[in-house]
Amino acid sequence: MINIDQLPNRLPEEKTKLVVRRHWWIPTKIIVALFFSGLIPIGAYFFINTEYPILLSHPIAAPLLTLFTSFYYLILWVLVFQEVIDFYLDTWIVTTERVIDVEQFGLFRRETTECHLASIVDVTSEMKGVIQTLLRYGNVTVQTAGERGQLVFREVPNPDSVRQLVLGLMQEDRARHERVATATPAS
């Protein structure tokens, strides 16, 4: 597991200021849909019990239906957890020195990108549509001068606060670098 106080390549004075994941609504809406999908076999049971009751005691049909139901619920359970894991592993970390973007895509693709606060040129936040505005979540785009171009905090809660935090840390970082530069004049 990743220890938030011992990030890889941590600088001596570096402190973690924010760890953010996507808004809770993103996995919830899919989990709710899957929950209702879980009610389908129960409905099917009552339908079969009314229309074809012989199937539930049939020596071939009954075990087949049970196998299929088990198969169905296992698939549903794994889909729920795939969603939870995807939500849980997509993390954005803001420290006093850098911004780190960790994203998991499916089972075997994982991307980690980081940029130093000094290489950030612009930070924008965006909330689109009724649901994002009501629940206050959206994207924060961190434009960098590096090769990567930009980091996007996708569907994070309170994007305006995240943007302000990153901008504030950028100013502090710049001031710190200027102080160091004036304290050690070029010889």
Binding site: I2, Y73, F81, L89, T91, Q104, L107
Partner: protein, 87 residues
């Protein structure tokens, strides 16, 4: 041919299912930010999977898997009118 034949695709599915579960837990253990949340997610995942398999096993054990596959018996359930009764 007995109905235990149906257990073969189910067993194959379970093999793939466990590989999938293993990789999901591996990702959580190695890449998630440590804390009670991660432990809780892994525990719920394992307990939920165990519960579904336990209930499935109990229900599946009630059936007689040595029953032979009788096509006529299946037809009788779904299409009783197609069975021509001897005069």
């Amino acid at each position: 041919m007995t109905i235990s034949l149906f257990l073969i695709p189910y067993a194959l599915f379970l093999v793939f299912y466990f590989i999938f579960v293993f990789f999901n837990i591996y990702h959580l253990k190695h890449f998630a930010i440590g804390g009670a949340g991660t432990t809780a997610v892994v525990s719920i995942y394992v307990v939920g999977t165990g519960a579904i398999l336990f209930v499935s096993a109990i229900l599946l054990m009630e059936f007689d898997w040595s029953q032979s596959i009788d096509v006529e018996a299946i037809q009788q359930v779904f299409f009783p009118e197609r069975i021509i009764s001897p005069l």
